[in-house]
Symmetry: C2
Subunit: 114 residues, 2 copies
DNA sequence: TCATAAGTTAACCGAATGGTTAGCTTTCAA
DNA sequence: TTGAAAGCTAACCATTCGGTTAACTTATGA
């Protein structure tokens, strides 16, 4: 029996990181707008800087975000590879829920045309 | 700007439910083997029945699992529709990480052939 | 009919979450 | 050179998680 290959703890962290609307919002912002300093990630969500740092820390541990220090700013960006780990879970299990499989395939096919 | 449509709290619950290896294991077992009573979901993970019930409760609140009482058994099964909600997050955001988009598309295309 | 199996509920526990404020260091720019 | 901006760390707090045991209800089958 083939099973989904990937360190379970890593999958845990990826899904957990995405289970919070603020962290998903930060991830989406970084995907859309690219590299951002900490304080700009905190502002739109109305949380303190230490609060934002904790969220970014969770995303970093999940391998979804990485940061680099530049001067007094800490610039964060998305590492898409780690998102694939989580997406991979759905890829693999899609075989069991063909309805969703059809839909996933259709949506992706449409995007490919554009 | 188009954004990912779905109640954020619902997406939260779906990702959170999948962020635990035991809950993913239960989900996978139900996908593979179909309907199972509570106690059979508890056994392979070496946890107590109340422990398993809590996990199933989380999966139910996320809409991933539903249960029906039959005699003294409580039979659980996967509701694939709710998994689509979480998969949909990746579907939508795949546009921003074209590498993963390519990969997702390729994997799904292969499955389609079979 | 009655012991037992399956499930539920409640209470408990330590650890982790998600947020804060206060105080520190580092860097920039006037 | 020095004040302010950006970030980091630590401490704190209420709540939730993930698990347990104990006690209860309901259904089964000998």
């Amino acid at each position: 029996m083939v099973s989904f290959q990937s360190d379970p703890a890593h999958v845990d962290r990826a899904f957990f990181a995405l289970s919070n609307a603020t962290r998903r919002g930060m991830t989406e912002m970084l995907l859309r707008e690219g590299e951002k300093p900490m304080r700009e990630l905190a502002r739109p969500f109305g949380i303190s800087l230490p609060g934002a740092m904790k969220h970014i820390g969770v995303l970093q541990e999940a391998g979804i975000v990485s940061c680099r220090r530049q001067g007094r700013e800490n610039l964060c960006s998305v590492d898409a590879g780690a998102l694939q780990t989580a997406a991979g879970w759905f890829e693999f299990h899609a075989r069991f829920w063909s309805v969703s499989f059809e839909r996933l395939g259709k949506v992706l096919a449409e995007k490919k045309k554009k």
